[in-house]
Amino acid sequence: MHDVAAQVSNFINLDVANITYLFLVGFVGGLVSGFIGSGGAFVLTPGMMSLGVPGLVAVASNMCHKFPKALVGALKRAKYGQVDVKLGIVLGISAEAGVLYGAHIQENIKKTFGDAGSNLYVSVAFVVILAVVGIFVLMDAWKTYKSGTTNEEEKVTKLARWVQSIHIPGTMVYFKSLNARISVLFTIPLGFATGMLAATIAVGGFIGVPSMIYVLGAPSLMASATELVIAFVMGLGGSFKYALHGMVDIRLAMIILGGSLFGIQLGAIGTTYVKPFMIKVVMGIIMVIVLFSRALMVPVYLSQLGVIEQLADGTVKMLKSTSFAIMIFALALGAFIVLRAMWQGRREEKLAQQESLAQSKA
């Protein structure tokens, strides 16, 4: 517990500007999370670090705001019939194991290759996973849009149909979001991967939501809502683990939560107005933009490791600030699309109400 005393003294002083900044980033992050089930964390952790918060305290405090936020979001979306609690808990438990394993890998990489090696691993994981999954999700959303079937019920993928057709005795569980029985032998690795990603890049949902949609066959709205249950289970376990070592700065966590609960309620309401493919649009766009942000940092870490030539200080600074700015842009654009789609949906509903009122009067 020697590190605890040091961490306590590293808890930053909060002024009005810091509080406002954390509250606002929390709001935007919450808005996106309420809509796609995750997101925001990738900006919050570096955001806190830019205020002088030590890395581990930032990760721990971010996690401690995540689980209460996910709880409120999951309860809200459960009211709209979008949450599959059983699937969320089953995936959440295996995700917890993934988080522990992911953190263990991180520690080993840090021990062997130092901070730059650990950062490089995180950035490469970001770039590779977001490139594959993000482009796939975005292309699928684009196909749906082009085919003009945005109003139709989503089709279950071939892979998901195959997964649902496999019967392994003693492992079959019925999930309402899939309206099918599937083997938990399929859910365990998916949950594990979600947890590992959460431990690595802080946003497990970038694996969790697409895997529920494309591998298990859940509708987008249910997948994004169920991700909130997974985030709650993972966040609660993770926060407790960090709290045991005194890493959580509860003031930071609660200030971010202050903003993010306004956001998550709004994001959850937004899902009731939009077409399901919009979940994929927002998620895909954020993933692809964030991918560029992280890719910019790869040369910085490679140069720190001595793999490529040393970069000038000015270049490193420029790459760092551009990367952070792109991440903020990704989150802001996601929030803008959510609000716009919600506003359009509300307007269409009001117009339809007015029309039906006028027809009944006539």
């Binding site: 909060l14 409120v72 709290a243 509300r346």
Partner: protein, 85 residues
Amino acid sequence: MSAQEEKKKKKPIGPLIVMGAASLALYVALLMNQDIVNNNFAQGGLYAFLPILTAFIFSFVHGNFTGHFWSAMGVEASKKKKEVK
């Protein structure tokens, strides 16, 4: 009664004020006692329950407040799509 009047009546102003005041009180208490909070909540071990418990309390109070806030602002879920198919 018109639909608009009905809507106005449903706005949860009472619960909004109660939960808003409770939420504000929680945040004031947290920020006014930063030293005590920092010293005790970060001790680790069994003290780990303190931040977890605090997070649950804030999520209940502030979560209810923010829910009522958007309802009072007239931002409600779509009446058309309550269930996902």
